[in-house]
Amino acid sequence: MSLISLPFFIFMLCFLCIYYKVGEKHQWKALLVGNAIFYVWANPVYIIFIIISIVSTWFLMRNPVKRNFILTIAINLGLLIVFKYSVNLGVRDLAAPLGISFYTFMTLGYAHDCYDKKIKPCNDLWHYALFISYFPQLTQGPIGTYQEMHDQLVAYHGYNRQNIKEGGYRIIIGIFKKLVIAGRVGFYIDTVYSSPVGRGGLTLIVATLFYLVEMYADFSGYMDIVCGVSKMLGINLKENFKRPYLSNSIPEYWRRWHISLNEWFMNHLYMPSVTAGWNRKLSRGLGKIFTKAKKGTLRCIFPTMLVWIVTGIWHGAKFSYLGWGIYFAFIMLLSFCTQSYIKKLNARIHWNTNNIFVKIFQVCRTLLILSCGEIIYRSESFSDMVAIFKGIFTNTRINGAEIAAAMTPFGNGNQAAASVIIILVLVTAQAVIEIKKEKDEKAFTGHRYIYAFAMLTIIALFGVAGKSSFMYQAF
């Protein structure tokens, strides 16, 4: 059931009525039933796997000893690997259960926190099931932690008109981003990236920049809808994006993009790896080669590589995802290793990092590095990736013919100019909003009804109908 669909709208309407009607004692139970209905709607058979995951993890982690922790990891990762990489394992028609990647993250995070004694294991199986299966965040996150979610989920939330309004407004923003912005540029990207060979550099650059726009509009739009739906239920979810494209550096970008996933990796893979014995041994070995390097820097190298390779593989068993992970591991390591030199260099050349032009330069540099990574990620094959890089770096010219060629993927020649104008207006408006919000978080918080009216009108007239699936659902 897509979050942008009539069945979901009806489901939500009915569910809200029941949720606020059942009373204090039964509200969380109603939510649990709602989760089950949402899940069964997708594919009734697959509920069995989420039940296996919930019951086994809850049962094993009641006694969070090492053996149980390892067993929990084995069961959950086993299910994830079997389903997610089934095509590569030769089991061709095995579709992955809804949200398996995301609920596995939550499950493993919970198990790790129990094992590390950061939290007390959940006493109530139903409460634990409610946390794992909470339907708004089930399919694409955000990856909530037990500490943040448990109390909110089991607490009673009385009907609050303000929550409904705020949630509704957030949902409108999400639908706008998805159907108007992402939907509009998506067609262009698909056309160019499905056959990049022989295309001009300008077309490839436009498609790559559009891909950045699509990814952000699609994913953050989904998060807006999820947070809006959750807000309507009186439950606040963690924000997953904080204007990532205004980051000054790649490490900063990853602190502002898909925040919950990156925090998960930081807490449950990176930090444990840094302190692990194997890493100490390996970094000691490296220290003998790089005698001048700091100990701290050396200790970050292998965990960083591990995190980024796992992140790449998590997206799927494709060369492009692995390549993307290795690319960002390299960039992050480069950033760590050169950090102190760059600081010294900045001081020597009196490079004022607060200067607006310096900031613009840094943001553009981040976007450039990011774009290269996204080319690796989005390319359908290795040869396509090579063709795209080659096209951009050796075949970019700006003249009438190239501009005309760059307009072609918009589809019908008649609509090219109209599409360009609308995309430029929308992207510029979105950029202005983000820049203003970066300076002042409260910007654009007034006149909500006017913005809602404008967005509803634009969605109805310019939304790309039939585009209800989201990019991250695939993961």
Partner: protein, 313 residues
């Protein structure tokens, strides 16, 4: 709650007004150099082409202008279908009392295999609401409709053009002349044309399109309208394709069964194996379009006598 209702209602009213405007009045927008409205504004015509992008690319209007003293026009849409062509003919007859000496319809064999669909949002723009409804009914009858399609057809399709009309129209207006392309397109070269992959072997006949051919013929015959079906040359590789030949024969069979005049590609003195003349398998380069149009005029004059062309053999 009152504010929420007002916000939603206001948005709905605006949307309804814009949608109504698009569906009812878009056909009267002052569009230059293309479409039904502009063709009607041109007045009486000796030769009027109605077809797809093939006609748009393959007919050189300045050359036609010279031969017919400006009394020519080319109504063409991307992937225009026979079902839509029949509706476009009705629109012309309903909306104007103009005299059309000869109407040239497209004899594109593969048009018989196209699913009934909206191929070009410009079709939506150019039709009256009645025409739009008619096309929708045809799509519905062919089983090619659902709610997203309905929404796209009546609401979002062509909306981009409408909202950006003042800015984009001057740009589009220069790209066409009397409905045909003005771009100086060049051939990509023999190597590209010879290696371009195409596979039409899985295409099958769509009955609605075949019925539309009969419908067009019957309407023209009933109206006493001069007409001819013209096969525009494709690059020789496509013309030799067995599937292409099969549907070409089928198209000719329909025309002959209904006593409709037609001109086949080989009746015009034109080298369809010269790569310099083509941009791709179906569309000619500027050089090809000029050479072809010159020869086509000769055939027209021979077949239909004078500039006033009766359309009847």
């Amino acid at each position: 709650m009152k504010k929420v209702i007002i916000t939603v209602a206001a948005a709905l009213i605006i949307v309804a007004a814009v949608v109504a405007f698009k569906n009812v009045y878009s056909c009267k927008m002052p569009i230059r150099n293309r479409g039904i409205h502009d063709a009607i504004q041109t007045g009486d015509l000796d030769v009027l082409f109605i077809g797809s992008s093939t006609f748009r690319a393959n007919i050189d209007m300045p050359t036609m202008d010279e031969a017919y003293d400006g009394r020519v026009y080319d109504i063409s849409y991307g992937g225009n279908q026979l079902v839509a062509t029949s509706i476009q003919y009705d629109e012309l007859k309903r909306r104007s009392g103009n005299d059309y000496g000869l109407i040239v319809f497209e004899l594109g064999p593969m048009m018989l295999t196209q699913e009934v669909a909206l191929s070009d949002s410009r079709v939506i723009w150019d039709l009256t609401f009645e025409g739009k409804r008619e096309l929708w009914r045809s799509m519905y009858a062919a089983g090619n409709t659902d709610f997203p399609m309905f929404y796209e057809y009546f609401v979002t399709s062509g909306m981009d053009d409408l909202i950006t009309f003042p800015v984009t129209e001057p740009f589009y207006g220069t790209r066409y002349y009397k409905g045909a392309k003005t771009d100086e397109t060049v051939s990509p070269g023999k190597a590209v044309l010879e290696s371009e992959e195409f596979d039409i072997s899985d295409k099958s006949l769509v009955k609605a399109q075949a019925d539309a051919v009969v419908d067009i013929i019957q309407k023209c015959q009933k109206d006493g309208q001069g007409f001819v079906f013209l096969e525009s040359p494709c690059y020789h590789r496509l013309q030799k394709d067995p599937t292409f030949i099969k549907y070409r024969e089928e198209y000719i069979r329909i025309l002959e069964e209904n006593n409709a005049p037609y001109i086949l590609a080989d009746e015009v003195d034109f080298e369809s194996d010269d790569p310099e003349f083509f941009e791709d398998m179906n569309h000619m380069s500027a050089k090809g379009r000029r050479a072809y149009t010159k020869e086509l005029i000769q055939v027209f004059k021979k077949r239909f006598g004078t500039e006033e062309g009766s359309g009847n053999d």
